[in-house]
Amino acid sequence: MKTNPAKWTKKHLLGIEELTEEEITLILDQAANFREVLSRAIPKVPALRGKTIVNLFCEASTRTRASFELAAKRLSADTLTVNVNTSSFLKGETLKDTAKNLEAMKIDMIVMRHGCAGAPHFLSERVTSSVVNAGDGMHEHPTQALLDVFTIKEKKEKIKGLKVSIIGDIAHSRVARSNIWALTKLGAIVTVCGPKTLMPAEIEKTGCTVTYSIKEALENADVINVLRIQMERQQKGLFPTIREYVQNFGITKEVLKKYAKKDLLIMHPGPINRGVELSHDIADSEYSVILDQVTNGVAVRMAVLFLLSQGAKRKEV
């Protein structure tokens, strides 16, 4: 048996863009082992016992927060959730002061979700703990991309050469950006599809193909990752109506029958706007692996928390 050459040395996980293919593969391999832990009678290991992990969520989230909390608890870490609605953020405390206060509490890791791109970078420059980006504005959502790729690999047994289409509001989506990085680094062929007004500038320079046609996005696709459409984008005049969006980009049984392969996988980061990006019956259909994504999310996050705690430890030595 040959030993795994990849090593984890990073102290923070701020994005996928700065990871190598080997580092991504390492996380995925570790996640598989953590998924086995989750299937045990006692789905808990003492690996992070005595460590304190703070969930700093400055943006609303249920599933990501719950997933991280569960992952930390399964590793026997102590967790603390700071939710912006009940914390002193409302009293006008700046991110800088919040960082200082957390630092004074001597915690080990901060999992942060924030509405501004670069907020986890800002934090990582001001605290000694490790920082995990759980979503920063429109920039990245690394653990989402990792669990997405994990889910694909599990179902399709490979990533390289697969055709993956990401459909929706690409311009405002951190999930899209992180997925593009992860998929291209692992050798997938990525297409992004959505209205031109929701397509960010020069996105093709990241290595993906751009199309405004749902037909092109679906034809020969092995996987589609369908993004949530936020209602406020319509109010800002970025597209005429939800109705028009659904007619041109909505995933329905008809559109799948027309263009999709029989073994297509449908993913969605959640929460789903049923009837908008996905029709009511598709979310629960045989194509959908949306619930697998949720299960895999805990395992992937366990892998990330474990590797970061080891990486930080090694730096100290």
Partner: protein, 190 residues
């Protein structure tokens, strides 16, 4: 005057071979006999090795037991990386391998197998992990080499070879599944 350079050319460490391939084979066979003898047969016996080398030794012991008694004994392997304390010897990489126990360990007699017993911390991790899997009737420890210097009250039930060592020395077990084709047990003197 030139300093005596010759000193720098002498090897900094010397290696003694304690067991060769044949020696390992015989030792494992003798241990397998002992396991069967002490447990008066193979009833409720399971063999679980500590990854990486302990797992391969466990496979061989189970194979030997089948040869001796004609009975299949379930074999499993555990990875203890999620149960380490800071002082457990690491191979240097913070990675987790898979744990494969495909059977119920409740009320079973577990033969826990590892290659080298040293401080005892690795075995302590393995005990904690096994107890999270279920409640075995008993856990018996089988090691190929006991090199002394225990830091915890852990003692082996079956020993291949007792090798008294200095703390500065290291003991290496080389198996064909993990290292090279020449199997041996070495003591490397600092």
């Amino acid at each position: 005057m030139c300093p005596d350079d010759k000193r720098g050319e002498i090897e900094m460490s010397t290696t003694s071979r304690i067991l060769d391939e044949a020696g390992i084979k015989r030792t494992l066979m003798r241990m397998s006999h002992e396991i069967i003898e002490k447990n008066q047969g193979t009833e409720r016996l399971v063999v679980i090795g500590i990854k990486t080398r302990g797992a391969f030794l466990a496979e061989r012991i189970a194979g030997n037991i089948k040869e001796i008694e004609g009975k299949e004994v379930p074999v499993g392997a555990i990875d203890i990386n999620l149960y380490r304390d800071d002082l457990t010897e690491t191979a240097g990489q913070p990675v987790v391998r898979s744990t494969d126990i495909g059977f119920d360990i409740n009320k079973k007699k577990v033969i826990l197998v590892d290659d080298v017993l040293f401080s005892g911390r690795t075995v302590r991790c393995a005990l904690d992990e096994l107890i999270d899997f279920g409640r075995p009737e008993a856990i018996q420890l089988a090691v190929l080499v006991d090199r002394g210097h225990r830091e915890l009250p852990i003692r082996p039930d079956f020993v291949g070879k007792n090798i008294p060592t200095a703390k500065t020395e290291s003991v290496e077990v080389r198996l064909k599944e993990t290292d090279n084709d020449q199997e041996e047990v070495l003591v490397i003197h600092a």
